[in-house]
């Protein structure tokens, strides 16, 4: 980290948040996607619509939820529907603009593994939590964003398991697969931002965060990382962005540290 004023997680969260437009309908994964989406809501995008797979539509949590189904999400939602309904009518029904996902591993085409580490599914080295909502978020949202810390462990040349589809084998293979939507249009990491090449669909480094070098990004990628001809430099966090994010985390820690209704 070149700048002691903020952490790599903070710039990753802030850069992801900036990309969410006001009014966008975002299907939000728990953890970093949720932090970024709520930061967007608390800053430039007060009318972003946050949907969590627990059935909360238009959620406006005051603190970050620890689980995908915290009472906080229901309490301040526009409405709360059943889990079957959220997947059928809202996600599969084509109502979601951005599916915002985390991942354990991604490959060069933005395919996601959240199932197992090790190439024997029946006898995995590490058993991960599994698919959750991701396979259908990845194939039914109009586009997907992935937020993940970048390293050779997470950016792998070949997934141990393809849980949720990205650009599949690249080129037009996703479109031919029957998946809907544009697939991963952005992968936001602690080092920078990747976007698919318009033709090959291979993830390409298009921006790096302040103080990060291209060499760092390349060294943290398990394949031969392509770098855009003109590389953008992420703007550093503004004082207001940082303050809002830190306030949110402070409120969250306070709420979740006790037994009170989170």
């Amino acid at each position: 980290m070149a700048d002691a004023n903020y952490t790599s997680t903070e710039i990753m969260t802030i850069e992801a948040a900036r990309r969410l437009k006001n009014g966008t309908v975002c299907f939000v994964g728990i953890g970093m996607p949720s932090a970024a989406a709520n930061l967007a809501r608390l800053t430039h995008a007060p009318e972003v619509v946050l949907i969590y797979e627990s059935g909360t539509i238009g959620a406006k949590p005051r603190v970050l939820p620890l689980s995908i189904g915290d009472g906080e999400l229901a309490e301040y939602a526009d409405t709360v529907v059943s889990v079957p309904e959220i997947f059928r009518y809202w996600l599969q029904g084509g109502r979601v603009d951005v599916g915002f996902l985390g991942a354990a591993q991604v490959d060069r085409f933005g395919n996601i593994n959240t199932t197992v580490v090790g190439n024997d599914y029946a006898k995995p080295k590490v058993r991960l939590p599994g698919a959750g909502g991701a396979p259908e978020i990845a194939s039914n949202a109009k586009e997907t964003w992935i937020i993940i810390k970048q390293s050779k462990r997470t950016f792998v040349p070949k997934l141990d398991f393809l849980t949720s589809v990205g650009h599949l084998d690249g080129g037009d293979s996703r479109a031919r697969s029957g998946a809907r939507g544009a697939g991963p249009t952005a992968v936001i990491t602690d080092l920078g931002v990747l976007a698919p090449d318009p033709v090959s669909r291979e993830l390409t480094l298009v921006a790096i965060h302040p103080g990060i070098t291209v060499e760092q990004a390349v060294a943290s990628t398990g394949w031969d990382l392509k770098v855009a001809a003109t590389l953008a430099r992420t703007a550093p966090p503004t004082a207001s962005e940082l303050e809002t994010l830190r306030d949110l985390h402070a409120r969250t820690a306070k709420a979740h540290g006790t037994l009170a209704m989170e």
Binding site: G55, G69, V80, V126, E262
Partner: protein, 291 residues
Amino acid sequence: MTSKIMPLAEAVGRFVKDGHTIAMEGFTHLIPFAAGHEVIRQARRELTLVRMTPDIIYDQLIGMGCAKSLVFSWGGNPGVGSIHRFRDAIENGWPRPLAIQEHSHADMAGRYQAGASGLPFSVLRGYVGSDLPKHNPNIRSITCPFTGERLAATPAINPDVTVIHAQKADREGNVLIIGIVGVQKEAVLAAKAAIVTVEEIVDRLEAPMNSCVLPHWVLAAVCEVPYGAHPSYAHGYYGRDNAFCKAWDPISRDRDTFLAWMKEHVLGTKDHAGFLKSAGITPIGRDAIHG
């Protein structure tokens, strides 16, 4: 009509049998922990456990050897990390091998819907490009008779017993669920028998007109078990015990520590009130929280 209202131990004893397919549902909210503990106390074996989000209660059931297989879509301790007994069973076969049948959330929800709807299968736009169908023979495909599109098809889930927790029931046994309702209605209506534990039994349900109500005649048993969802939460009653969820991580990492804890607090107590006392749990009361 005979009352459906009975003690939890009686309900589990009457309806949950060795070899059954059991679904305990509750989507981070209203997880039927007390009922899960009672299944462990009564030492049910060879269960096929179904649950979208196996978390601590399924970790306990698996670690105590109740389950021969697990049908699920996401297994973890929300906000904390892995569930270690689940991982140990899959990775190392301890205390016994655990067969798994793995789906996505959208699919599990649809499978319960099909079960509740009296249909043999569910259709979804799912699993495109995913490796999951390679490892699960229950994920098949079906062709639309109008457009020719291929879609995923999976079999209905119809558990022998579904167990859920809810906020309240009236004296007839009609149940009201408020807040995040998850897949509970579908899981109950898909089941051959349903057990519902509730925070309290009241004279009048006072259910809003279009709320989630389960009439007594679709239920096998209704059991009053205050704090029955702890360490998950009951909207309007108490919040989630995040400290407990975090404390579970080290307890469950080690087989012996896990077994000792379960023996002391679950097997060593006769009911949920006893468990709460033994484990030193004082849930936040309803007066302390909004809801």
